[in-house]
């Protein structure tokens, strides 16, 4: 995993994020003046745009957008910015997965990258959101951060995102599963993903510490 914030000049917050062969640039602008139809009287409006690595955005990108929105909305301190807009644009550079079949890797790259960019932008957040992909392989092995090849040969795949408050996962923001699995598998997945998210949180903190010490 590699993240680099402040990558773009002309937006308030940005991050170039890569994980295995998935690569995405996120750009955050806000709080800015919304269009009249976006404006919410008491809180911050959120606009998310996802541009795929090749071609034009399709229903697949809209699907990812909606999931990213479901994860990001709860972490924003949205009542701090009434009648304002936060615009998030995600440009995929490399998909890293077979696009017609999957979107799990892109979704997680988008979420994690957005978290870095949001913190970089200085928009008020109640916590941070980090997530991971876990798959159950055909021989019942749990694998986190899979590659395209592993996704193709998996029995089921799961996208899990947590909200992190006070340095520990406090809230499950999204769990999105495909394939063949039972209740026991879900419990194992949650356990495994929590461990992984704790690691991601540690990396995040170290990154921020270094960034702030450099100023």
């Amino acid at each position: 995993m590699d993240a680099q914030t402040g990558y773009l000049e002309n937006v308030d917050g940005s991050c170039l994020y890569s994980l295995n062969s998935t690569k995405v640039i996120s750009a955050v602008t806000g709080p800015v003046e919304p269009k009249a139809r976006q404006e919410l009287p008491t809180q911050l409006a959120l606009e998310i745009n996802i541009r795929p690595a090749s071609g034009v955005p399709t229903t697949r990108e809209v699907n990812i957008q909606d999931k990213v929105r479901a994860i990001i909305t709860p972490i924003l301190a949205s009542y701090k910015y009434p009648r304002q807009l936060c615009q998030i644009t995600l440009q995929l550079l490399q998909s890293g997965e077979t696009e017609p079949y999957f979107h799990a890797l892109e979704l997680i790259a988008c979420v994690n990258s957005t978290t870095y960019a949001l913190v970089d932008s200085g928009i008020a957040l109640k916590g941070i959101a980090l997530g991971t992909t876990v798959v159950i392989s055909k021989d019942n092995q749990l694998i986190t951060e899979p590659t395209d090849e592993i996704l193709k040969n998996s029995k089921s795949m799961h996208v899990v995102a947590y909200m992190i408050e006070n340095n520990k996962p406090s809230n499950l923001l999204l769990m999105d599963s495909y394939g063949d699995f039972d209740e026991n598998d879900i419990l194992k997945i949650l356990e495994q993903s929590e461990i992984k998210v704790n690691q991601l949180n540690k990396t995040f903190r170290e990154y921020m510490k270094e960034k702030i010490n450099n100023i």
Binding site: D12, G13, T29, G30, P31, V32, E33, I75, A77, Y79, K80, Y81, P82, R83, Q84, V119, S121, G122, A124, L125, K126, G127, I128, M163, I164, E165, N166, N167, S170, F204, R205, M208, K209, I212, I215
Partner: protein, 237 residues
């Protein structure tokens, strides 16, 4: 006392005593929890009245706060006020015709669209349009506020402009003054206005200030010297 905080971290606060929250801190209206909402260095200071908590962090977009000194661009004129932009795409703020020295119903200020002003934020409620003033409202004097003529505006991060304006130890302006005479207005909204006698000096100042951003203080002298060497043939040692 300063420690690193990340949004959502728990902060030890003496719940018996009153608390004043500064930038980067937030009292969640639903849970009534006091949490930092930005990643930066936490500052807690104690006074007789209570505890003051804020997070020192750097960002690019400015949100108005009362008392801030800002550089704004006039973007519109109405019956009794100007519309002023403090940062691109942000909600504009208003500057009343009455917020100028010696203002009266008859004596209107003569600013036009595109003019730059140095002003102070006098009202900033998040639900309302923020207001700025070009007059020291305690005594009615101009206090250095008003129209900024000629010169050039440098865009910088908010943390950098705060260092320039408030940190007396910050060596950048002193180093610049070694090379040329200049007039400067620093807005904490990330806009720095600078004016010198000659265009080439303005260019050198512009490039020096933009480039010193994010560099260690020891490098300032070298950067500034380089740019002045580029635009002038002579430079004093």
């Amino acid at each position: 006392m300063s420690t690193l905080v990340i949004p959502g971290d728990e902060i030890s606060i003496d719940s018996e005593r009153p608390v004043v929250l500064g930038p980067g801190m937030y009292n969640d209206p639903v849970t009534q929890r006091i949490v930092p909402v930005n990643a930066g260095l936490l500052n807690i200071s104690d006074s007789k009245k209570g505890q003051t908590i804020y997070v020192e962090y750097d960002s690019k977009r400015y949100s108005p706060a009362v008392g801030d000194l800002v550089v704004g661009i006039i973007t519109g004129a109405f019956g009794d006020s100007y519309r002023v932009s403090l940062s691109s795409f942000s909600t504009p703020v208003s500057l009343s015709y009455m917020a100028f020295p010696n203002a009266s119903k008859k004596n209107r200020p003569t600013l036009v669209i595109g003019d730059l002003v140095y002003a102070r934020v006098c009202n900033a409620e998040k639900e309302l349009e923020a207001e700025i003033e070009c007059v020291d409202s305690t005594n009615g004097s101009d206090a250095g506020f008003g129209l900024l003529e000629n010169g050039m505006v440098i865009e910088a991060t908010l943390g950098f402009t705060r260092s320039l304006l408030f940190n007396n130890e910050f060596p950048l302006l002193r180093e610049l003054a070694q090379h040329c005479k200049f007039e400067i207005a620093i807005g904490v909204n990330g806009k720095i206005w600078i004016k010198t006698d000659e265009v080439k000096e303005t260019i050198a100042c512009y490039r020096s200030i933009s480039d010193c951003q994010g560099q260690p203080q020891e490098k300032f002298q070298e950067i500034i010297k380089n740019y002045f060497l580029q635009v002038t043939n002579t430079v004093e040692e």
